[in-house]
Amino acid sequence: MAEDTGTLGRSAAVFKASMQWRRLKSHFFVVLGLLSVLLGVVALLVLLVDVIVQGSGWLDWQFFTSFDSRFPARAGIKAALFGTLYMMVFTMLLAVPIGVMTAIYLEEYAGDNWFTQFIQVNIANLAGVPSIVYGLLGLQVFVRIMEMGRSVLAGSCTMALLILPIIIVASREAIRAVPPSMREASFALGASKWETVRHHVLPYALPGMLTGAILAAARAIGETAPLITIGALTFVPFLPEHPLDRFTVLPIQIFNWVSRAQSEFHHLAAAGIIVLLVVLIILNSVAIYLRQRLRTRY
């Protein structure tokens, strides 16, 4: 019987076998893909669970109201919390106006010439510069040449330069999403360029810009390296009262505790990480909410 089917039957059998193998490869790949995805998900879960297990016992009122201490039981994040807050206020005050104005220039005013191209390439490159290099810039220019010392202000200036590319890129996208008909309608009514931008483009682009600014703030809150480089002090038993006072921030406090040998300090670090992550989750949720609202409006 088998011989009767001839060459056609044999090649059909060969095809069937090879097809099975080809399908198997597809299934195998799906498994590999799922495993890779799982690696990311599991890493995140393990990280979160570990931090909560290690740190939650140390999260009490005392932890928020105490300065750092040599004794783990008495150490807290008061200075770091206020330092982060002050630094972020100054950073955003510097970075948001400059970033938004740069975005307005590039989107609404700049001609299509080599200079505009140069600025754009330059911003793209700045986004790829390692954060610690910004720290060296801040150390040399703000701390040393401008004599701000290792202060809140020097840290904020450094951080503002670091997040500027993020704010510019986000603001440009928000401006680009404003339909041209808005501008044309405004021009038709006799408004000047700036009046058009100020009264019609900016209000529409605002939620997008805000989202970008919040994400940039989230990035700045978690940054450690540039602030260590400019010498943000790790032991600060006081609250900064002046822009030129020394300061510490949450990630530096965490770094400080992680670097100690005693395991009690590692628990403190975990507690600090919980606070940091909660702040970041809140910021990101606000950004996602704004993005969602933006989507429903258009």
Partner: protein
């Protein structure tokens, strides 16, 4: 005073010549203010270049470039000072290599899986997880490496020290996965649907479409994502400062403490090094190498995409 009642009183009078001139002046002034802020990005780049090169030139007045590039010991903080950059370079390369060995296969598999195989529901779960992973501060990853990954590795690998390149590299790889995944997915998403349909029409399976049609078509973007990941790994600071140690050792052994370029800058910054001392200048010499290394990689990645992109229009 009667004009004040008019609903249009807050508009500037248009037929007044002097007011028109002042309006034009205001418009021009605003243009120049905006131009000035846009120029700040160029000033920033210049500032980075000048502050790095300035101190580096002072550094090379005291240390010869030959010693910097041929010596294999780096001991600027000891009594007998030696300035060979190689221990820092090999350490950086070692950690970056381990990180990429984790991040590129995983990130690429995730990208291909999400864009070619996964259902929308899976994608809706995985994408936010990747975004969260990308948003976790690096100091948290450092904690993760030192207090969780290293003890686990010590169980399995004999001779594994508390500070080592392997743990830092693996965790850095996990940190970079979202970046590789999202950049590769962008490249894969840019491959026209017609290409896939053509391959399915010829009887190809999903695996064959993904690996033999889509990936080759998106290869330039995938290579660029790998180069950008390398640049990110070289510039990453906190994970290596916390978990890889502060011992500049000329070795490729992933089990022992080492010191990367970035970790060295952190180590010096933590001490109260006086301005204008030789130790102070070493971090700028190391910083300028870091800057040009990452700069070259970023430029290369962008050039590569533009040069080798497959055009299907």
């Amino acid at each position: 005073m009667a004009e004040d009642v008019s609903p249009f009183s807050h508009y500037p009078p248009r037929n007044d010549m002097s007011s028109r001139a002042s309006r034009r002046f205001k418009e021009e002034a605003i243009r120049y203010v905006l131009l000035a802020t846009a120029t700040l990005s160029i000033v920033t780049t210049l500032g980075i270049l000048l502050s790095l090169t300035g101190e580096t030139l002072f550094f090379f007045r005291e240390v010869s470039l030959v010693e910097f590039l041929t010596e294999t010991e780096w001991t600027p903080l000891f009594a007998i000072k030696k300035f060979g950059i190689w221990p820092l370079v090999t350490a950086t390369a070692l950690v970056a290599f381990i990180a990429l060995a984790v991040a590129i296969p995983t990130g690429l598999l995730i990208a291909i899986y999400l864009s070619e195989f996964a259902s929308t529901r899976v994608r809706d779960v995985v994408k936010p997880v990747l975004e969260v992973l990308a948003g976790v501060p690096t100091v948290v990853y450092g904690y993760f490496a030192l207090t969780l990954v290293t003890p686990i590795l010590q169980e399995f690998i004999p001779g594994m020290r508390i500070f080592n390149a392997l743990s830092a590299g693996i965790v850095m790889g996990i940190m970079i996965i979202p970046m590789v995944a999202s950049l590769s997915e962008d490249a894969i998403g840019a491959v026209p649907q017609a290409l896939r349909e053509g391959a399915y029409g010829l009887g190809a399976t999903r695996f064959e479409v993904a690996l033999q049609v889509v990936v080759p078509a998106a290869l330039s973007g995938i290579v660029a994502s790998a180069v950008l990941a390398l640049s990110r790994a070289v510039g990453e600071t906190m994970i290596v400062s916390i978990a890889a140690g502060q011992n500049p050792t000329f070795t490729l052994d992933p089990r022992v403490p080492i010191e990367t370029m970035t970790a060295y800058i952190v180590q010096v910054s933590l001490g109260d090094t006086p301005f204008a001392s030789l130790e102070y200048r070493t971090i700028f010499a190391v910083g300028i190498m870091l800057f040009f290394l990452t700069f070259a990689m970023n430029i290369f990645a962008h050039w590569f995409v533009r040069r080798f992109r497959e055009e299907y229009d």
